[in-house]
């Protein structure tokens, strides 16, 4: 089976036009020594209905958030997505197109991307943004590479409050690119200002701080900013929970040079963590250093001078500059950016504000209820947005068993990433959780404790 439309007879007729007699004749350029002598060892073809049945069963082996109540965040967020978003995002003209090389027949994708760039600026308070990056972690990498400049050498100072996965990814790139990574320690859930001061020096290319940080705690970005901005150091702000931008001071407000992070939860499904939607925004002055694609507004060449949109500043890009490009990015996350654009348009100014309030209020209600259970205590006492760390009086394993029985996906066990936090769980409560959900969780915790 395949999606090849032409029948054997038609293919034969086409071969005849070429003066050939079989498909095999077209393979003569492939020498025998590298030819595969037999068929690939793969499962036989399945007709669509059989395949669907198989896939539906495989999917059913996963506990989805349609039937389970989740308190898991830690960088990936379950969001309430208005029905209009997928209806529009999945229009096949968007889905089945590619990078808009021919702008005259790609105005839809180009304009949507221009709107995305604008919205990223509107929510982050930054001057400019690009068309998307793979995910939050690689967005941090790109920000760091911008700060390091063409040479690629230097030192990066990064808080241990940055998502552990992001730090691991940056470590990988540090190895291959040859820069140094210095981690700043945590004190009561936030970046130690003393340690940060001690870490920044004249070799520091960038200071990277996540807000809210991985523990859900709010960093004092206003206090960090002058430390980060010593010398020619760039201040990079990382946002993994973009809903926080609805309530918290923006990177623009606290004078970040570059803001990067993850916007997958804006209009797109979690899909086991990918495809994700990395974003990068910066001050105007870094425009020509920005990696990836940029869409710009222009006008027609002809006399009517209508407004239109094009890929622009392509001289930064790999397909023009090859080894001198600002990054190697080609395919990015356009369709997810369209999803985020429609999502933010649908929420609008008012809905977006409410999103922030809902996350804040619901998580704080959950926090109050959980910490009221004897034995369950807050690990840190600073302010948070929609995630918080709870110390459990019983083992995390026991908690997870109780959750599974109650069809709850629990929080993130911090012991996996931080030494000495084996009794800590990071709970996330977004706008999608109802009071009923939270009360269910609280009851399970009470019973586990009893």
């Amino acid at each position: 089976m395949s999606y090849v439309p032409n029948t054997q007879e038609e293919q034969q007729a086409m071969l005849e036009r070429l003066g050939l007699s079989s498909l095999e004749d077209l393979l003569t350029p492939v020498p025998a020594e590298v030819r595969l002598p037999e068929a690939l060892d793969l499962p036989s073809a399945l007709p669509e209905p059989d395949l669907k049945r198989l896939m539906i069963r495989m999917a059913a082996k996963n506990k989805s958030l349609d039937t389970n109540i989740s308190f898991l965040g830690a960088g990936t967020y379950d969001r309430s997505i208005p029905s209009v978003v997928p209806h529009l995002q999945k229009r096949s003209e968007f889905v089945t197109s590619y990078t808009p090389y021919q702008p005259e027949v790609s105005q839809g994708m180009l304009q949507a991307t221009y709107e995305f760039q604008t919205m990223v600026c509107q929510v982050t308070g930054m001057d400019i943004a690009n068309a998307s990056l793979y995910d939050g972690s690689t967005a941090v990498v790109e920000a760091v590479l911008m700060a390091l400049g063409p040479g690629g050498r230097g030192e990066i100072v990064m808080s241990a409050g940055v998502d552990p996965q992001y730090r691991r990814v940056l470590q990988t790139y540090a190895f291959s690119r040859g820069f140094t990574l210095k981690e700043v320690s945590i004190e009561n859930g936030v970046t130690s200002l003393e340690d940060l001061k001690a870490s920044v020096n004249k070799n520091t290319a960038a200071v990277v701080i996540q807000q809210p940080n991985f523990f859900g705690c709010l960093e004092d970005m206003q206090a960090i900013e002058p430390i980060a901005h010593q010398g020619k150091t760039l201040f990079v702000s990382v946002i993994t929970e973009p809903a926080s931008l609805a309530a918290l001071a923006t990177p623009g407000m606290y004078n970040a040079d570059i803001a990067v992070g993850e916007m997958m939860s804006f209009g797109n499904t979690m899909s086991y963590g990918g495809p994700a939607l990395g974003f990068i925004a910066s001050k105007q002055k870094f425009m020509r250093l920005l990696p990836g694609r940029l869409v710009g507004q222009t006008i027609e060449e002809g006399p009517s001078k209508q407004t239109g949109y094009v890929l622009t500043l392509q001289t930064r890009e790999q397909h023009i500059r090859r080894e001198r490009a600002t990054s190697n990015i080609c395919t990015n996350q356009s369709l997810l950016a369209v999803g985020a654009t429609i999502y933010l348009a649908a929420l609008g100014k008012q809905g977006f504000r409410e999103l922030g309030e809902l996350c804040l209020q619901k998580s704080h209600y959950a926090f109050r209820q959980i910490t009221a259970i004897p034995g369950f205590t807050a690990a840190f006492n600073g302010p948070f947005f929609d995630e918080f760390v709870i110390k459990s009086p019983v083992s995390i394993q026991k908690l997870e068993q109780a959750f599974e029985q109650a069809d709850i996906i629990g929080g993130y066990p911090l012991g996996e990433s931080y030494a000495g936090m084996d009794d800590c769980m990071l709970f996330c409560v977004t706008e999608t959780r109802t009071k009923e959900d939270i009360d269910t969780l609280v009851n399970v915790l009470k019973e586990v404790q009893a």
């Binding site: 032409n6 027949v105 291959s176 994700a276 060449e301 397909h319 369709l335 348009a345 100014k349 309030e357």
Partner: protein, 493 residues
């Protein structure tokens, strides 16, 4: 015609989405968060109603051309039909609504899919193992180069700092090499065969052999030509201690016919959005899995999927691993589509895909040859490069002009001016999913354009004439970049 921006629509106070109800007791914002940490003004997002959102993005979609709309012969991009069943499978709640950090026992189906897909891709490419982590082809390239770097370093060959790249390679190859801190040395194309100039390669290897980390090749290459001396090239590179990297962008030509591993390659990336027909989404998402031979397995990013009596689980990477190249486990939604595609086609179906892609390309090459000079008039694989050299000489009509004129006939354009080594290049990849009728229609339109170039070149030079906007001022866009809307900004209707 112009569609105004979403920011120019609506009025203060309008809204579309309704938010979940606030069903918990609330406290004042200031009592929860210090005022200095709060946003002062709401984000200045659009204020539009639901019908405005719907009409706006419906209109934008109508201003966009996709494979579902018509023929899309964009060379090296493999714009084949994207099966709808793949979309439905990726949208199943069990796949779409799972969190990447859920305990393994709650996501057995997801890990199973990744586990099996890894094995399928390993078989297709003849590799030992495959990581599904990289997010796109270029990301895969970089990952592959990191693996090679880690390998050489582990072998005590850390001084290897050169990557060899043919002059017709995809732009991502040199860009990825730079990003991996390698120096790029270009290898010339043989003007007769269109393959690697072996003498040139030899000279480079003699000069720099012990600094060569790898060569990056795509085979068939961007001229659509299969380099018949690939085994020999492989032996030459291996002889000086280099590794062979296979750029899988053109893998739609080889499934079931030949395998990168069997050609001698050590590392291969896949572009699942090309070869396995996960849709291109207007520029992404894609997925760029990396397959490696046994000796490179210890360096792969982790975790990797594994299976024991209890079921599927994630196995952490060993001490030699380069580490993660992105958060979480890869573009899972894309992987579901690729898995569905491979299971639907099966081994015979996949081979038929490649053979048919090759047939369609050769058919077009043959039928267009009368009107357009073909860069290398040889049997091609899944694509070929035609040129507008003749037209440019005769009437000043360029590859760009021909591309724009094609848009008037409801077709997308080929990739133009690439590869860089062919002047006035038009790189054409029809893919296997085009009918003979659509190929014939393309031929007939290209014939008409060739006629027009002779008899009425202005018509072609001023194309397109039927699209929603005419040619746009790219120079202005780059000279005075306008990358975002600002209040007060006006657009020209």
């Amino acid at each position: 015609s112009v569609e105004s921006l979403i920011f120019e629509k609506g009025t203060p106070g309008r809204r579309a989405a309704t938010m979940p109800s606030m069903d918990v007791p609330t406290e004042s914002l200031e009592s929860l968060i210090p005022a200095s940490l709060l946003r002062k003004e709401p984000a200045p997002l659009p204020e539009v109603s639901e019908i405005e959102v719907v009409r706006h993005y419906t209109h934008l979609s109508q201003r966009n051309f996709g494979v579902d709309t018509g023929f899309y012969p964009l060379g090296s991009c493999t714009m084949k039909y994207n099966p709808k069943v793949n979309e439905d499978m990726a949208a199943l709640p069990g796949f779409a609504h799972v969190h990447p950090l859920q305990p393994a026992r709650t996501v057995q189906g997801a890990i199973q899919l990744i586990y099996e897909l890894e094995r399928y891709l390993a078989e297709i490419s003849s590799m030992a193992r495959v990581t599904l982590q990289p997010s796109a082809g270029a990301h895969g390239e970089l990952t592959g180069l990191m693996l090679i770097k880690a390998y050489h370093q582990h072998q005590g060959q850390g001084e290897r700092n050169i990557v060899l790249i043919p002059d017709n390679a995809h732009g991502t190859n040199p860009a990825s090499s730079t990003l991996a801190d390698y120096k790029v040395v270009e290898i010339k194309t043989d003007s007769q065969t269109g393959g690697i100039n072996i003498e040139g390669l030899k000279a480079v290897l003699e000069a720099h052999g012990d600094h060569v980390a790898a060569i990056m090749l795509t085979n068939p290459n961007t001229l659509g030509l299969f380099d018949a001396r690939i085994a020999e090239i492989g032996r030459m590179i291996h002889a000086v201690g280099g590794q062979l990297y296979y750029d899988g962008a053109n893998a739609n030509a080889v499934m079931g016919i030949t395998r990168p591993g069997d050609m001698g390659f050590d590392v291969v990336h896949f572009n699942l959005h090309k070869t396995c027909s996960t849709p291109h989404g207007g520029g992404g998402p894609g997925a760029g899995p990396i397959g490696v031979k046994e000796h490179l397995v210890p360096f792969l990013p982790g975790p990797l999927p594994a299976k024991n009596a209890q079921g599927y689980y994630w196995e952490d990477a060993g001490p030699l691993s380069i580490g993660k190249v992105r958060a979480n486990l890869g573009n899972f939604g894309v992987l579901v589509r690729a898995y569905t595609y491979i299971r639907f086609n099966g081994p015979d179906g996949l081979r038929h895909v490649s053979e048919s892609a090759i047939l369609n390309a050769n058919y077009l090459r043959h039928e267009l040859a009368e009107d357009y000079e073909i860069a290398y008039p040889l049997i091609c694989q899944h694509e070929f490069v035609a040129t507008a050299r003749k037209q440019k000489e005769e009437s000043g009509v360029t590859a760009t002009d021909i591309a724009k004129r094609l848009l008037d006939f409801g077709m997308y354009a080929p990739t133009v001016y690439f590869p860089l080594i062919v002047p006035e290049a038009m790189m054409i990849e029809p893919t296997e999913t085009e009918t003979r009728e659509s190929l014939d229609q393309f031929v007939s339109v290209m014939h008409q354009i060739a006629e027009e170039a002779r008899t009425n070149p202005e018509l072609v030079k001023t194309a397109p004439h039927t699209t929603v906007v005419g040619r746009l001022d790219q120079a202005l866009a780059a000279r005075k970049p306008n990358l975002r809307w600002q209040i007060g900004q006006e657009i020209t209707h």
